[in-house]
């Protein structure tokens, strides 16, 4: 749910990167932090374990600038991917406007992808949300690796909403900004 502050002339949107453990959510947000104009971003906050696995979330605010008199910001979050951190994932999803589901393209990660996708639906339903009402993009990450699923197969498994699908390699940045651009436009179109 966006915060539309007419008095301060500000609009803030919340976008969450979701997906199974080690699928590349944090890598996406780190790449954005590294590459985007520093004037357009705030501080990257990460709550991670000593092994650099996300414990609670990563947070990166981006400023789009003033649009029709309204200062517009996107607040990017990741969730912890490991299955036993579901309580934390639910908290991060509160007030979400757009979701990027980062799928790990490797054939060996099939079960984790499906489990995480179903978990996203469950958690959104539990808070009265629905993917069809939010911005939603599926990013097929790790396309540079071998032994990966075809886009068609992953699409059939994970895209019941007929949402945009973007191939990516978050480590090199391929598809990272295209994904963010697509979901950013969606959240603006779907909220007032």
């Amino acid at each position: 749910m966006p915060l539309i502050n007419f008095a301060a002339r500000e609009i803030n949107y919340k976008i969450v990167y979701y997906g199974c453990g080690l699928c590349g959510k944090t890598t996406n947000i780190q790449y954005i932090h590294r590459k985007i104009n520093p004037q357009a971003r705030g501080k990257l906050v990460s709550i991670a374990t000593e092994e650099e696995r996300t414990l609670y979330f990563d947070f990166l605010p981006l400023s789009l600038g003033t649009v029709k008199g309204m200062q517009t910001r996107f607040h990017l979050y990741t969730v912890p991917g490991q299955s036993y951190y579901n309580a934390s994932r639910k908290l991060v999803l509160q007030g979400v406007d757009g979701v990027i589901f980062v799928a790990d393209s490797q054939i060996t990660r099939l079960d984790e992808n499906v489990e995480s996708y179903l978990n996203l639906w469950d958690n959104l339903l539990a808070q009265g949300d629905d993917l069809t009402k939010l911005g939603f993009v599926i990013q097929m990450n790790k396309r540079d690796l071998t032994d990966i699923f075809s886009v068609e197969d992953l699409n059939e498994l994970l895209n019941h909403t007929n949402s945009p699908v973007i191939e990516a390699c978050a480590v090199t940045g391929m598809g990272v900004f295209e994904t963010l651009k697509t979901v950013s436009k969606q959240v603006i179109a779907k909220t007032s």
Partner: protein, 170 residues
């Protein structure tokens, strides 16, 4: 499809909140106050010369508060209505104003936690109706018609340079 509604703040609400935060700051002896949404977005702040990094503070405070609410449930408590962190030189106090709004206060050794809590409770009684009774007047507010198209163009511009860079490294 109907568009999603957000948490909307109008001029009257912001004026009332700013006025109240200024008074609360004065009487409680606190250094920095902020109203934020429960999803971690700042609404307004009051401070003389202390300006923490508000976006990170709002995000972390809202997340901590949300986690505290879940801890309450696990302990079969209906809710924990505030979150308090005590430091050597400064303290952080987070309390719930409404379903969608939290109040953050930081204060140092020059005041007492009891005083801050007392005045905060009184302030919340005044703040709560400001947010809970505004749906009707806020329904009339509209973002400029050309907002979506302009934002789309600015999104393209913001990412144009970096997109090219990413492709080049691949």
């Amino acid at each position: 499809m109907a568009k999603r509604k957000g948490l909307v703040i109008n001029d009257r609400q912001l004026d009332l909140c700013d006025d109240l935060l200024r008074k609360l700051k004065e009487v409680s002896g606190s250094t920095f106050l902020a109203l934020i949404s429960t999803s971690g977005q700042p609404i307004t702040t009051a401070s003389d010369d202390y300006h923490p990094e508000t976006l990170s503070l709002a995000s972390l405070a809202a997340s901590s508060f949300a986690a505290t609410q879940q801890l309450a449930r696990i302990l079969d408590e209906k809710e924990f209505t505030l979150l308090f962190h005590e430091g050597k030189n400064s303290n952080l106090h987070v309390s719930q104003v409404s379903d969608q709004v939290l109040l953050i206060i930081t204060f140092g050794r020059e005041t007492q936690v009891g005083k801050v809590r007392l005045y905060t409770q009184r302030a919340i009684e005044v703040l709560k109706p400001i947010f809970e009774n505004a749906d009707e007047e806020n329904d009339l507010l509209q973002v400029d018609e050309g907002y979506e198209a302009s934002a789309g163009k600015m999104i393209d511009d913001l990412f144009a340079d970096v997109e090219g860079e990413a492709d080049a490294t691949h």
